[in-house]
Structure formats: structure tokens, C-alpha cells
């Protein structure tokens, strides 16, 4: 009897070994067929849950329609792009496309897609999915926010399938760093979305209420559950196309939970309490609060230095003919005088802003490119310290004078008095305004601060032009100057200080136009750098925007998060979510 049992056990063992060997051979074969990307990250421990907080519910889960930051952050965890900007090196690198080549004239891009990849529902990825995705992004009726990016030289990029794993993109004109355009453009499953697209209901597909089995993506995670007002839960995508050095398929984490926590303070408190593992986009003051408990609670806190956000003061230089705003029109004779703008800039205590608004966690700025943007920063720009004497000299040169009580008078002996709009929800910019108000009062200027809710402020800045000056901040999504075209071109949609120009209003704006358009079609980095250096010089001299400071990018992670390498590019803590793991 014991003999028979041993024999049977041996047989069972043999069978199991055979099955395991077959299985291994099979997966090995599948992996060889599959063009996976091997990452070089430090090895992590698989499994576990990572929790983080975002400000609001996602508005949609459709990558073609998503606009706001929170929505994109969640969607990006479930999708992948052909060419991706590495957030650490700031350079484009192969993603779903294994390689790409550029024609000599710079107008044709050929991309070779990795073979054997699968969507998170197990269906294969082919060139048809890529062509279909770009069809969606370029469709005028769908009106995707990415559509503008894909217009080169006024014409949409065209896409052509060469074979199942090769696609070719044609551009109307050479376009510098065109490969950066592919970043963030998710490739979508044709087999799931084509019917909705053909039926004309694409705008309603992949909304937040759609069931998880309707989705499929190429990102590290896929949708598991969405509870409105509380959380969205993502689970590991078993078909993800990256493996680590030992061949283990990424991501390491099994479950990713986004909690909806509407205020920054509440997010900080939840992080402190250990409810969340990652924290980004919080103020320097909160950074100090967390720092005090860092030793006891053992978080990882990182000050990454200046990011890409630049905050600035600007004056209303719009053409107000026919707007019936006589008071502002009168003051525009000061605002248009570059010496007036230079005097204001010279009187501003940028170091004070850095110290009092950001507790030192910011960098003073004199032009739009921040020190975080190492590839494009013009390091030759002079950074004059605050000088009230120089400011007075400039004003005197522009025929301003002072009354006996010290009030500044314009050339027609009217007192200089103007208001600065700020958004009441942004405490930091309101604080900057208060410091500037005090600085300018030393020149005899009487400055009022008008905090408005964000919507009313934007309505004044973009539509009614009923404002005198304002403080705003902009942050480019990418380091490349091309991403800021709409700010600097005189007919750009974010050319905030003057949105009424049909042709450049000043010689220097004409020069900026010419420089920006030239860098766009120049393919050599060195030449482009020279052109963009000149743009920075013009901005620093002519001061269409008076740059103030660039806040540092601050991020935190709990002790148990491994492979935490935040970057200054968004999403700073999540960009390597596929490599993160929990201890």
C-alpha cells in the first residue's frame, strides 16, 4: 500500500513538472514574440496597494476628451503613447513605438510599433489602432483639446499605415522636436470604440459611468471601480508591455487608489495621517509643517528645485477702441511706456517674494524660462537686484514727477494709481500682490489689489479687458519652447497682455513672432537655442510680462514607497508609477 502511494505521488510530481515546463516554455515563447521594453529601474517587490489623493472626480475617462489636470493624471495611468518624454532626462524615448526615423526634409516620421503587445483586455495592438486613434484626435467634430497640437503649419498631421507594425506621419512643414508631440497621446483600442465613433456617439463613450469591461488601454493599470465623490480604483494590467531586469512584468503594484480630497490642507492632513502614500502640488508652508514631523513619521520629502511654472505681473496693453473704458485707456499711456514697466520691475523685491511667499522654496525670475528648464534657459540674462533709485531714474526719464507728499505724478500731473487683479483662491499670488503694492508705494504709486474669484478674473482678462494689471502664473507642460507658442505669438490664445492684435503691435512683438516661427522649423538644437535665447532677452528687456518667481516642485511619499524618483515635469510623483513598489 505505501509503495503504491509513493508511486502515485511520483507520477503526480512528474505531471506537475511537465505542466510547469510547458507553461514556462509557452510564456517564454510569448515573451519572445512580444517586443517588451526592459526597464533599468531598481528591482521592486510585487504586490500591494498605493493610495493617493487628487482634488476632484475625473470628468471623463476618455483620453481624447480629457481637459483638466486631475482627469489627465488618472487617465495617464491607464494609457500609453507611442513616444514618451522621459520625465527624468526630459528627452523623448521609445514607448509603444520601438523606434522611429525622420526623413531628411524633416516632414515625414516613420514609427515602428512594438510587436505582440496587447491591450488590457487581451486584444492585440496593431497599426490600425494607431491610425484610428489619430483619426479621433484630428476629428474636427470631436474637437479634442490635443487637436491644436497636431496642426503643423496650419494643416493637420496625416497618418498612413504601412504595414501592421509601421505607421508614417506626414507634416506640412518641418517641425522641431515633432517626436515630443506624441507624448500623452494615448493609443486607443479600435475594436472597442469604432462602433461608437461610426454611430457618432464617441463623445458619450468612456464616460465616468461606463462599466470597467468597456475599457481597454495600454497603460500599467486598468479600471476596477469608480465610486463617485469618494475614489477610483485601478488594478494592475496583466498585459503591460514593460518588464524589469529579471523579466518580471511591470507594474509592481496590484492596486492603485485615487481618493478625492478637495483641498490642499485636507490632502496634507491625510498624508500626515498615513492615509495616502504620495503627495504633490502643495505649498512651501505645508512642506515645512511636514518637515517638522519627518523624522518621527519617516516620510520622503523632496524639494526638486524650480519647476516650469512662472508667475508674473502684466499690464493691460490691449487695444481698447470701442470698449468704453476711458479710465483704463488713459492709464495705458503709462503701461505702454517700456520705462514705466522697467521701473516697476526694478522696484520689485523678488527676493522678498521668494522668502515670504515661498519660504525660500522658489527662484526669482527675470524672464519666462525657469532654471528648472536646463536645456533652454538663457544663462546670460542679467538679474538686476531691486533698485528704487534706478526705478526713480527711469520714471524721471519718462517725464514722471513727484508731488510734495511723495505721490508719483504722470507727465500730465495726474497721480499714478492702478489696480492689480489676483485670483482670491490663490493665496500665493495675492501675497505677491501685497508685497508688490508695498514696494511700489515706495515709488509713490498707489496700487489697489482686487482679489476676484477665478472665473470673474478670467472673464476680465480674456473677454472684457476691463482690468489694469494682473498677476498670473503659467506652466508649460513640456520644456520645449514650442509648447509655449500660444503665449508668445502675437495672435496666440494666451498672449495675455494683448489679445487684440491682428498684426504685431510693436517691433519687438514682431521680432518674437519671427523668432518663434523660425525656431519651430529649425531642426538643429544649437540654432534653436540661440533663437529662443533672444526671445528671453526681449521678454526681459521689454517686459510684456514682469516675471517674479518660479516655485519649487515639492513632493512627498510615505516611507513604504520604493523607486520614488520624482521629476519637475508633470506628473511629478506618478511619472514612473509602473516602477513604484511598496515595502
Amino acid at each position: 500500500m505505501p509503495k503504491a502511494a509513493t508511486k502515485r505521488r511520483a507520477l503526480v510530481c512528474l505531471a506537475m513538472i511537465l505542466v510547469a515546463a510547458l507553461y514556462l516554455a509557452n510564456t517564454r515563447a510569448a515573451q519572445q514574440k512580444e517586443d517588451v521594453m526592459v526597464t533599468s529601474n531598481a528591482l521592486g517587490r510585487p504586490g500591494g496597494t498605493l493610495t493617493l489623493a487628487v482634488r476632484s472626480d475625473p470628468k471623463t475617462l476618455n483620453p481624447v476628451l480629457a481637459v483638466d489636470e486631475t482627469t489627465r493624471e488618472i487617465i495617464d495611468c491607464m494609457n500609453a503613447d507611442l513616444i514618451h518624454i522621459n520625465r527624468e532626462t526630459q528627452q523623448p524615448e521609445a514607448a509603444l513605438a520601438k523606434s522611429w526615423s525622420i526623413s531628411h526634409d524633416g516632414e515625414t516620421y516613420t514609427l515602428h510599433i512594438r510587436r505582440g503587445l496587447r491591450f488590457s483586455d487581451g486584444q492585440p495592438l496593431t497599426a490600425d489602432d494607431v491610425v484610428f486613434s489619430f483619426q479621433l484626435y484630428l476629428d474636427e467634430k470631436i474637437d479634442s483639446p490635443q487637436r491644436d497640437l497636431l496642426m503643423v503649419g496650419g494643416k493637420p498631421i496625416s497618418v498612413e499605415k504601412i504595414d501592421d507594425y509601421t505607421v508614417r506621419f506626414h507634416l506640412a512643414q518641418p517641425y522641431a522636436a515633432a517626436e515630443r508631440l506624441f507624448d500623452g497621446l494615448a493609443i486607443l483600442p479600435k475594436h472597442l470604440l469604432e462602433s461608437a465613433y461610426k454611430a457618432g456617439t464617441f463623445a458619450q463613450s468612456w464616460g465616468v459611468s461606463a462599466a470597467p469591461d468597456q475599457f481597454a488601454g495600454l497603460g500599467p493599470f486598468r479600471l476596477k471601480e469608480y465610486v463617485p465623490g469618494q475614489r477610483i480604483v485601478l488594478e494592475r494590467n496583466p498585459y503591460y508591455w514593460k518588464v524589469d531586469g529579471t523579466g518580471r512584468r511591470l507594474p509592481y503594484i496590484d492596486t492603485l487608489v485615487f481618493l478625492f480630497v478637495p483641498s490642499e490642507d485636507a490632502q496634507v492632513i491625510r498624508f500626515q495621517a498615513g492615509d495616502t502614500d504620495l503627495l504633490s502640488r502643495f505649498s512651501a508652508a505645508d512642506f515645512s509643517v511636514l518637515q517638522r514631523e519627518q523624522a518621527a513619521k519617516g516620510y520622503q520629502l523632496e524639494d526638486l528645485g524650480s519647476g516650469l511654472e512662472y508667475n508674473f505681473l502684466f499690464f493691460n496693453l490691449n487695444n481698447l477702441d470701442g470698449k468704453n473704458l476711458p479710465a483704463i485707456t488713459r492709464k495705458q499711456s503709462w503701461f505702454r511706456d517700456v520705462r514705466f514697466r522697467q521701473a516697476v520691475s526694478a522696484a520689485i523685491d523678488r527676493d522678498g517674494i521668494v522668502r515670504l511667499v515661498y519660504e525660500g522654496r522658489a527662484t526669482p525670475l527675470w524672464s519666462q524660462v525657469t532654471p528648472g528648464n536646463k536645456l533652454w534657459l538663457n544663462t546670460a540674462l542679467v538679474q538686476p537686484a531691486q533698485s528704487l533709485e534706478h526705478a526713480r531714474e527711469l520714471l524721471r526719464g519718462a517725464s514722471f514727477s513727484w508731488s510734495s507728499s511723495g505721490a508719483l505724478l504722470d507727465p500730465s500731473r495726474q497721480p499714478v494709481e492702478f489696480s492689480i487683479l489676483t485670483s482670491s483662491s490663490n493665496a500665493e499670488r495675492t501675497k505677491m500682490a501685497t508685497l508688490i503694492q508695498d514696494d511700489l508705494s515706495k515709488l509713490g504709486m498707489n496700487v489697489h489689489i482686487v482679489p476676484l474669484d477665478f472665473q470673474s478674473m478670467v472673464a476680465r482678462l480674456l473677454n472684457s479687458f476691463d482690468y489694469e494689471a494682473a498677476i498670473m502664473g503659467l506652466a508649460s507642460g513640456d520644456v520645449d519652447p514650442t509648447s509655449d507658442m500660444n503665449v508668445w505669438l502675437s495672435n496666440g490664445g494666451t498672449h495675455l497682455w494683448n489679445l487684440t492684435e491682428s498684426k504685431p503691435a510693436t517691433a519687438w512683438e514682431a521680432e518674437i513672432n519671427q523668432l518663434m516661427n523660425e525656431q519651430l522649423v529649425t531642426l538643429n538644437y544649437g540654432q534653436r537655442k540661440l533663437l529662443y535665447d533672444r526671445v528671453q532677452q526681449i521678454v526681459a528687456d521689454e517686459l510684456p510680462v514682469i516675471c517674479l518667481a518660479s516655485p519649487h516642485v515639492l513632493v512627498g511619499a510615505s516611507r513604504r514607497v520604493g523607486n520614488f524618483h520624482p521629476s519637475i515635469l508633470e506628473p511629478s510623483a506618478l511619472w514612473n508609477i509602473d516602477e513604484l513598489y511598496v515595502h
Binding site: D286, S424, A427
Partner: protein, 343 residues
């Protein structure tokens, strides 16, 4: 007897508070807007009698705060030089009641020393000075808004109560409409629609008047009730029989009956509207920088980092408790007096 005692003590305390706030310029060592960018969030100055050598001084003195090794917001005392507290010193110019210019301050220390008895805010402004100056704005806001409410309430309440009928219906239903009005949104709309050239002070005054005007419904209801009962009294009927006009009746016989209610309502409404000002500032609709109000002093506490880092930012809130307590005690006491007079 005890009741009278409480009443007078409260009255004297409140009067003291109001006087202090009226003489803010004299009592405050600095201007409400003077920034000291090297003393951002400096804790209250410590008043010393014994110096670092253990020697006793009759005249109190302070040491200067210096930043600890470039760490923002942490300070230590520089024991090198003592700054004795002096009285009746010359300092920043101010105007008393908007008329009399002066340089004289009750106390201060020699520059470059600074004395911050309640610490400083993020711009390094003296919180004590801002508390006193802020009181001028907040109390004025409370009084003006309350006066508007009572005035409108009295007129409308008298008309409704005296004439009754459809006038009463229209006015009182209108009042209910005002009670149901989401006044915060109304204020947002008013602020967003105003032209930029209006100064912050004017904007604030306007918002206060708007609040006051919206708040008439509650006093109007009370006054209407009193008028209703008063007009049926025998002496009113008698006067009417003698041919007295409506205006005469209202002025001579009915209105005096409502004075007590008006007074108690006023003491209730003033602190209520001071709080309304705090709410406005919380929402960014209050007096703009660099002006101070009690609302703006409290508003900084909305930030979690301020709340957990700088304990002295709570002091203004603590000091306001007796003021509100005083007003409500006064209102209580007045109400009882009115009752006993009526009986």
C-alpha cells in the same frame, strides 16, 4: 441689584474696548501696514526685567529677534543689545478720528529694535497694531450694517403693523423673500460687477450696506408685532378719536413703544454683523490688503500650516471673545430692562 451690577460692568468694559480702538493710532506702536520683511511670523516679543547677566532693571526691555540659520519662521533672541520699552515715543504718523495728526505713541522701543507684543503676521506686520486698527473697520462695519437694518426694519415694520391689510401682506412676504435670499452669492455678484476704480474701502462699505439692507426682515417682524399690539391700546384709540393724524400717532405714541426692541436688536445685530465681516474676509470679499480688520486677522487661520505653526495667530481670536460676550450680555441685560419697564 446684581443684574444692574453686571450691566454696568459690561458697559464699562465695552466702553473701554471701544475707546482703545478709537485711539488705535496712539496705542498701537506701528502702522497697520508697516511690513518688516525680516520678521515674518515673529513670535511675541518677550518683555524682560532681568538681563542676560542676571541684572535687574526697573524699566522693562526686549531683545531683538534674529532668524535661526536661514530657517524661515524660526527665531531666537539676540541677547547682545537690550531695547528698553519707552513711553510716549515719537513714531509713525497717524490721524485720530481722521482729523488730528500726531506722531505720539503710548509705547515703543528705539529703532532698529521692534516690539511685537502679539507677534507678527506673514509680512512681519505687528499683530497688536493690526488688532487695534482692525477693530475700527470691524466695529464700524458692525454698527453701520446694524443701523441700516434697524432703520429699514423700523420703517417697514411700522408701516406693516400700523396699516395692516394688503400693505402688511406685501411687506412681510417681501421680508420672507429677503430672509431666504442667498446673500453670499449676491455679494459675489456685487463685487464682480463693480468697476476697478472703486477703492477697496468703498467696496467694503458698499458690501456692508448691502448686508445691512438685506438684514432688515427680522427686526421688521419684531417691530411690526409691537406696533400691532400698540395700536390697539386705549390711549392710541383715544388719540385717534381726538383726530390725531397717522403720522402723529406713529411718531408720538407708537414709535416710542418700539425703542426698547430696537435697542436690544441693535446690540444683537452689531456682533452678528462683525461676524458677517469675518465671513466676508474668509471669502475674499473683505477689506483688501494692506488694511486690517478682525476678519482678515482671523482669515489667516484658515491655512493649516499657520494654525499648526504659529500659536500667536490665535491671540486676536481669543481677545475677541470678551467683546462678543460683552455685547450679548449687554443685549440680555437690556432686554430684561425693557421687559421690566414694560411691566
Amino acid at each position: 441689584m446684581r443684574r444692574t451690577y453686571k450691566f454696568w460692568i459690561t458697559l464699562v468694559l465695552l466702553a473701554g474696548f471701544h475707546l482703545a480702538i478709537f485711539f488705535a493710532g496712539f496705542l498701537a506702536p506701528y502702522s497697520f501696514s508697516a511690513q518688516n520683511r525680516d520678521f515674518s511670523y515673529a513670535p511675541p516679543s518677550r518683555i524682560h526685567f532681568v538681563d542676560s547677566h542676571g541684572k535687574f532693571h526697573v524699566r522693562p526691555f526686549v531683545y531683538q529677534w534674529i532668524t535661526v540659520a536661514h530657517r524661515y519662521g524660526s527665531y531666537e533672541e539676540n541677547g547682545q543689545k537690550a531695547y528698553p520699552v519707552r513711553f510716549f515715543v515719537a513714531g509713525a504718523p497717524y490721524k485720530l478720528a481722521g482729523i488730528f495728526s500726531s506722531h505720539l505713541h503710548l509705547f515703543g522701543v528705539d529703532t532698529p529694535g521692534r516690539i511685537f507684543i502679539l507677534g507678527t503676521d506673514d509680512y512681519g506686520r505687528d499683530q497688536f497694531s493690526r488688532l487695534l486698527y482692525g477693530g475700527q473697520i470691524s466695529l464700524a462695519a458692525g454698527w453701520i450694517a446694524a443701523a441700516f437694518s434697524i432703520l429699514l426694519g423700523a420703517v417697514i415694520g411700522c408701516l406693516a403693523g400700523f396699516y395692516g391689510g394688503w400693505i402688511d401682506d406685501v411687506l412681510m412676504r417681501g421680508g420672507e423673500l429677503f430672509l431666504a435670499l442667498p446673500w453670499l452669492y449676491l455679494l459675489f455678484a456685487v463685487r464682480a460687477a463693480l468697476p476697478l476704480q472703486v477703492s477697496q474701502g468703498q467696496v467694503f462699505l458698499l458690501l456692508i450696506v448691502v448686508i445691512g439692507m438685506i438684514g432688515w426682515a427680522r427686526p421688521a417682524r419684531l417691530i411690526r408685532g409691537i406696533v400691532l399690539s400698540a395700536k390697539q391700546r386705549n390711549f392710541v384709540t383715544a388719540a385717534r378719536a381726538f383726530g390725531a393724524s397717522d403720522a402723529y400717532l406713529l411718531r408720538r405714541h407708537i414709535l416710542p413703544q418700539t425703542y426698547g426692541v430696537m435697542l436690544t436688536q441693535m446690540t444683537f445685530l452689531v456682533p452678528q454683523y462683525i461676524l458677517a465681516e469675518v465671513t466676508l474676509t474668509f471669502l475674499g470679499l473683505g477689506v483688501g490688503e494692506p488694511m486690517a480688520s478682525w476678519g482678515s486677522l482671523l482669515a489667516s487661520l484658515q491655512q493649516y500650516s499657520v494654525m499648526v505653526s504659529y500659536w500667536w495667530m490665535f491671540l486676536p481670536a481669543l481677545l475677541l471673545i470678551p467683546v462678543f460676550f460683552g455685547y450679548y450680555t449687554l443685549a440680555d441685560a437690556l432686554q430684561e430692562r425693557v421687559k421690566s419697564v414694560a411691566l
